[in-house]
C-alpha cells in the first residue's frame, strides 16, 4: 500500500492493525515528529486535549479536592460566610459518635467479601463451562448476563417483588405470607443486607462470567493440548495450567469487585433507602444531601473516607497497568 492511498483513502487501511509500532522508533521520533507541527496544529492539539481535560478535572477532580477541603469545615450551604474551619472535628465525631458510620464501613466490607467469595468464583465456574464449545452457549450466556444489562434500580424493584412479605415469591412459596408468619426480608435489619446481597450477587455473577470468558479466550490452546497429552484431568489442567494464565483477568476482577463494593448504592436506595441494617458509606453521603439535614462538612468527611479507600486501590492498580503498558 503506497503512502498516498493510505492518506486519501483511510478506509482502505481499515485492516486489523498489525501490532504496535516499534518502540525504539517511537522513542527516537518525538522531537522531529513534534517539530513538524505548525502553530495552528499546536493550537488544535491544545484544544483537543484541553477542553475534555478541563471538563473532567473541573467536575471530577476539583470537586474531589473540594470534598477534602469541606471535610474540615462546617457549612449549612447557605452563603459562603457560614463556612467555618473546624479541623478534625467532623472526623472525630464520625469515628466516635455516629451510630451509622461503623455499621456502614462493616457493610461495605461485607459487600466486598460476599461478592469476591460467591458470585466471582461462580462466574469463573460458569465461564469455564461455557468455554467448552458446547451448544446453546449463547443462550446460556444471555441468561446469566441479562441482570448486568438491566439497571440496578430496576433490579431493585424486581427483587422487591420477590422479597415482598405478603405478595412476594419467596414467602408465597415457603408459606410465610400469612399475617403473623411474615418473614420481612426488607424490613428486618438482620436479614435485609443478605437479601440485598443476593440481588447484588445475581448481577455480579454475569459480569464476572463475561470478564473470565474473555480471559479464557486468550489462553493459548496449545497449553491445553500439552496438558492433555501429559494426562492431566480437567481439574488439574484448570488448576495448574489455565488458572495461572488468568492472572491479568484476576487482577481486573479484584479491582472491579472492590470498586463495585465501594460504589454500591442503587439497589439499597431502592430497597429501603439504607435504613437500619443496610447502611453504606455511599448512602450516608447521599442522605446528607437529599435528606432534610444539610450538614455539608460532615457529609464531606464521609466522602473523604470513601475517597481514601478508593485511591488506595485505584492508584497501585493504575501504576502497575501503565507501567506494564509502557514496557509492552
Amino acid at each position: 500500500m503506497s503512502i498516498e492511498t493510505g492518506i486519501q483513502n483511510p478506509e482502505a487501511a481499515a485492516v486489523p492493525p498489525p501490532g504496535g509500532a516499534p518502540a525504539q522508533k517511537k522513542k527516537r521520533a518525538p522531537q522531529g515528529h513534534n517539530r513538524l507541527l505548525t502553530r495552528r496544529d499546536r493550537v488544535t492539539l491544545g484544544l483537543m486535549a484541553g477542553v475534555p481535560t478541563i471538563l473532567h478535572v473541573a467536575l471530577v477532580w476539583v470537586t474531589a479536592l473540594a470534598s477534602v477541603a469541606l471535610a474540615f469545615t462546617t457549612w449549612d450551604g447557605i452563603g459562603f460566610d457560614s463556612i467555618k474551619w473546624v479541623g478534625l472535628q467532623n472526623f472525630k465525631q464520625l469515628f466516635t459518635d455516629n451510630p451509622q458510620f461503623w455499621p456502614a464501613v462493616e457493610h461495605n466490607i461485607v459487600w466486598f467479601v460476599v461478592l469476591i467469595l460467591i458470585p466471582t468464583p461462580f462466574g469463573l465456574f460458569l465461564a469455564v463451562q461455557l468455554d467448552k464449545k458446547i451448544r446453546f452457549t449463547r443462550i446460556y450466556q444471555t441468561a446469566f448476563f441479562l441482570p448486568v444489562v438491566v439497571s440496578l434500580a430496576v433490579t431493585g424493584f424486581v427483587w422487591q417483588l420477590v422479597y415482598n412479605p405478603d405478595t412476594g415469591l419467596i414467602n408465597s412459596l415457603i408459606g410465610a405470607n400469612k399475617p403473623g408468619h411474615y418473614i420481612d426480608w426488607i424490613g428486618n435489619p438482620h436479614l435485609n443486607l443478605w437479601a440485598v446481597l443476593v440481588a447484588a450477587s445475581w448481577r455480579h455473577t454475569g459480569y464476572m462470567m463475561i470478564l473470565y470468558l474473555a480471559g479464557l479466550k486468550g489462553v493459548d490452546p496449545s497449553l491445553r493440548e500439552a496438558s492433555a497429552l501429559d494426562g492431566a484431568n480437567e481439574w488439574q489442567t484448570f488448576k495448574n495450567v489455565i488458572f495461572p494464565t488468568l492472572r491479568p483477568t484476576n487482577t481486573v476482577v479484584l479491582v472491579v469487585t472492590i470498586i463495585e463494593a465501594l460504589r454500591a448504592f442503587d439497589l439499597v436506595f431502592v430497597f429501603n433507602k439504607g435504613a437500619q441494617g443496610t447502611e453504606l458509606l455511599s448512602i450516608l453521603i447521599t442522605n446528607n444531601i437529599i435528606g432534610e439535614s444539610s450538614r455539608i462538612g460532615y457529609g464531606s468527611a464521609i466522602a473523604v473516607v470513601l475517597l481514601v479507600i478508593s485511591l488506595a486501590v485505584i492508584i497501585p492498580y493504575l501504576i502497575a497497568t501503565f507501567r506494564k503498558e509502557r514496557r509492552a
Binding site: 483511510p10 487501511a13 492493525p17 501490532g19 521520533a29 515528529h33 496544529d41 488544535t44 492539539l45 483537543m48 486535549a49 477542553v51 475534555p52 481535560t53 471538563l55 473532567h56 467536575l59 471530577v60 470534598s67 469541606l70 463451562q129 461455557l130 458446547i134 446460556y140 444471555t142 446469566f144 448476563f145 441479562l146 444489562v149 438491566v150 439497571s151 434500580a153 430496576v154 424493584f157 424486581v158 417483588l161 420477590v162 405478595t167 412476594g168 415469591l169 455473577t205 470478564l211 474473555a214 483477568t249 470498586i259 465501594l262 442503587d266 436506595f269 455511599s282 453521603i285 447521599t286 446528607n288 444531601i289 437529599i290 464531606s300 475517597l307 478508593s310 485505584i314 493504575l318 503498558e325
Partner: protein, 297 residues
Amino acid sequence: MSTPTVALAAKQRTPVRPARVLLHVFLVVTALAWLAPLLWAMFAALRPYSETSAKGYVSWPDKLSFDNFTNAFEQSDMMHYFGNTLIIAVPAVLLTLLLSSMVAFYVSRFDFRFNIALLLVFTAGNLLPQQVIITPLYRMYLLIDLPGITVSGKLYDSALGLVLIHVAFQSGFCAFVLSNYMRMLPHELTEAALVDGASVWRMYWQIVLPLCKPAMAALATLLSIWIYNDFFWAIVLISTGDNMPITSALNNLSGQYFTDPNLVAAGALLTAIPTLIVYFVLQRQFVSGLTLGANKG
C-alpha cells in the same frame, strides 16, 4: 467463528457423552433460576391486581393480559420520561465519544511530556465512586446560574447538568480504551500524513477516527446502556419529578402505585425494555466493549 478442526473431530467421534448431558442439565436449571426474578415480575405484571389479591400470587392465572403495561405506560406518562432520558443520553454519548477520542488521539499519537499522567488522571477519575464528588458538585450546580439556557435557570435540575457530569465521568473510561486502541494503529500512517502537510485535525478526523470505528461502536453501546441506567446522578441533581429520566422517575412512580405491586412490576419491566433491545441487537459490541477495557489489566 470457526471451530478448530481438532475440537470438531473430537465432537464427531463422541456424539453423546454423559458428562455433556449433565452439564447441559446443570446449565438449563441454573439459567432458569437466573431468569426467575424477571419471569416472576413478568408473571405478576400480566395479571390484574384483583385476581392476585383474591387468589394469592402463586396461583394459576385466570387470564393474562397486557393491561398493567398499558396502564403503567399511560397513567404515569412514561413517554415523557423516556423523552427526558433521550434528551440526556443522546448528547451525552456523542459528546463523550468525541471528547474522549480527542484526548486519546493526543496521548497516543504524540509524544508530549505529560501524556501518561494525563491519561492516569482520566482513568483514575472514572474509577472513583460517584459519592466522593457529589456534595461539592451539588453545591456547584446550585451556584451556576444559566438564565434562559436551562428551564430551571441553573445547572442544577437541568438536562444539561446531567449531560455534563456524564461526559466528564465517562470520558475517563473511553479515553483509556480508545488510547489503547489508537496505539495499535501503525505509526507510519499519521507520520506520512504529517510529512505530506496534513493538519492535525485532518489526521484525527479522516485517518485515525475512521479506523477506530469498531472500538467506538462498542463504547457507544456500553455508554448508552450505562447512561440510560443511571440512577444516582439523576436522583441527586434533579429535583423536579417532571425533569427526571426514566430510571429515577420509576422511583417516584412506585410511590404512586404502592398498593399495586403488579403495576410496579409492569412499570419496572417497561423501563428495562430499551436496554434489553439495545443489548440483543448489539450484543457483540456490548460484550467486546466491556472486555476492551478489562483485558488490558
